[in-house]
Subunit: 335 residues, 2 copies
DNA sequence: CTGAAAGCGCTTACAG
DNA sequence: CTGAAAGCGCTTACAG
């Protein structure tokens, strides 16, 4: 037997309307009545039914976070998990509850689910597929993308200045004197990996030390295992090339490659300097710790949610989000 | 303007009741009518309003996951994040949507929020505090604990056989010939750290090689930083003690301690063998990779949710969950 | 096989 | 300052 506003009204000897008014604080109520009702609510531990409220207000104060990943991990992903944490944090302060869901097969199933639940808005993380976008748009639910695989016209998209980050790495490594730089690049279909590589290559070309495509390995996934495997299978090529440094377009790949090299007794950074990208927690913990470019995931999550909130509240003149500024974090793997 | 059942009914020339029946599949409907309605639903992309449904059925098909952590990370936590992933997975197959929330200050705020949202049930992860238990119990909402800090009478609690895991480590290390074992133990107020240490000590005492309390360091948090710091501050003691191995009651502490030792040019495992506990993803990635005891987090999440589902559906004769069986994972840090 | 009515727990004008 | 009524979008007996 759930406690309802009706029961409170009965006990307080007033109408439901009055109880509703004291709870919401809107409209007049005599002090005497207000106190009596508040007292009862406290005493009986009454909690208004948010479902009923949503029904009438047409606002659930719930949002959905869709993380598109083909494989595990989802929430525990070292990069996307961080963004999720920031979203959770900000959501609490803005009074939203958040549904976390995933869709590995890129079906519309979870998006569909969120539509039925009548979420006020959606945050789409990672892969951004046109069909999902179209589907959601069709329902008229506001949404924000975070670190999607491509930019899409008219879609609010929170991203890092990845091209600039790639440039920073090139500048840093060349300033250290490196000229023979090996590169392992994550999936080029993904915006961030693509731009990181681009920024890096452009800088190198600009200073007259272009990176030959033979020095660039294309990874099909951006995982630790892939980094390890690519380094293993190209080890002879790497040794023969006289490379003094390695840049991978994310930390996981860099760490995997590093582990293989450490197992070959390569001294890092003395023989090979390594730079990654993202600054996941593990980067600082690895031995040697990894020099990398920090993506401000906290700001990503915070910005995504406050932007979504504006969209939901239909604020006017909402500005497109500014790209986040990356920061080079120098650690043991290069110095 | 949301599309409603009323609109579908109007267009199909039938009553709302009939539309409701074809959607639910309960009750009779003529084939002709059913087809017409289904056609319309498909055409207009009608999605039933789960909020309205919840209102009448008194079931939201939403559950809440409360992760109690004092500090970040929450969802991205290497251990709890894994459990969360498993929960998300199972939830999808059981048709629940899940709210993920946290409460760093141990207030009742998020529990309260979940009560207002009228979740069908709750999963409490990590710290288990009596006041939260009491509060939720008071509302009559079913819940399941996962890896809580203590066992509480009558509370369904999914845990690992931590004492057995501690025993396995002791057996393994002594079988390798180690007698001088250094131990860093996580917060003893937490059930898992306490039992892991206990199982370990008991085995050692049992074979006549009791661990003196001077060989056991108490960590106040179970973090990487704490492991590193404790090893640093007790380095002289460690060296003087002639220890050939280290056991930490979780991987993070073990990894932190390992990093410090590697920085001191200690060769692992030749000079010091290291064993952790949990088998978080980083354990396998570290260099050298860490020997550890795997906690079946996937099973934890899956079991938690199916148990909660039984509780929600008020199944009779629900058995208490069996403790999960740990498994020793041997890696480079000991061989 | 189908429709009218009541009701889930609230809020929101509208009278008084 | 307060209460009665209508309504949010569904489902569920109950008639017919």
């Amino acid at each position: 037997m759930e406690l309802t506003i009706k029961e409170i009204a009965l006990r307080a000897g007033v109408s439901k309307s009055t109880v509703s008014r004291v709870i919401s604080g809107k409209g007049y109520t005599s002090l005497e009545v207000r106190d009596r009702v508040l007292q009862l609510i406290e005493e009986l531990q009454y909690r208004p039914n948010a479902v009923a409220r949503a029904m009438v207000s047409q606002r659930t104060h719930n949002i959905g976070v869709l993380i598109y990943r083909q494989h595990h991990p989802i929430a525990s992903h070292p990069f996307y998990g961080k963004i999720l944490d920031a979203i959770l944090m900000t959501a609490a302060s803005l009074n939203y509850s958040v549904f976390v869901t995933t869709d590995h097969d890129m079906s519309l199933r979870s998006a569909d689910f969120m539509m039925e639940k009548r979420v006020d808005g959606l945050i789409l993380i990672s892969r951004l597929q046109q069909n999902v976008i179209d589907y959601i748009t069709n329902f008229g639910v506001p949404y924000v993308m975070v670190n999607g695989s491509t930019d899409v016209d008219g879609v609010m998209h929170i991203v890092n200045q990845d091209e600039e980050g790639g440039r920073m790495v090139a500048e840093y490594l060349t300033d250290l004197g490196h000229r023979q730089i090996f590169v392992i690049a994550g999936p080029q279909t993904h915006r961030s990996h693509n731009l990181r590589l681009k920024g890096f290559k452009n800088y190198m070309a600009g200073i007259g030390v272009p990176i030959p495509s033979s020095s660039i390995l294309q990874a099909s996934t951006s995982t630790f295992g892939e980094g390890y495997e690519l380094m293993r299978s190209h080890w002879e090529q790497f040794r023969a090339g006289g490379f003094t440094s390695l840049f991978a377009t994310n930390d996981m790949i860099a760490l995997g490659a590093m582990k293989f090299m450490l197992e070959q007794s390569v001294r890092i950074p003395e023989q090979v300097a390594v730079v990654g990208f993202d600054d996941i927690d593990f980067a600082a913990m690895f031995s040697p710790s990894l020099t990398t470019v920090r993506v401000n995931t906290e700001e990503m999550g915070t910005q995504a949610l406050s932007l979504l909130d504006k969209l939901i509240r239909q604020e006017v003149n909402i500005e497109n989000p500014k790209q986040l500024v990356p920061r080079l974090i120098v650690r043991q793997s290069t110095q």
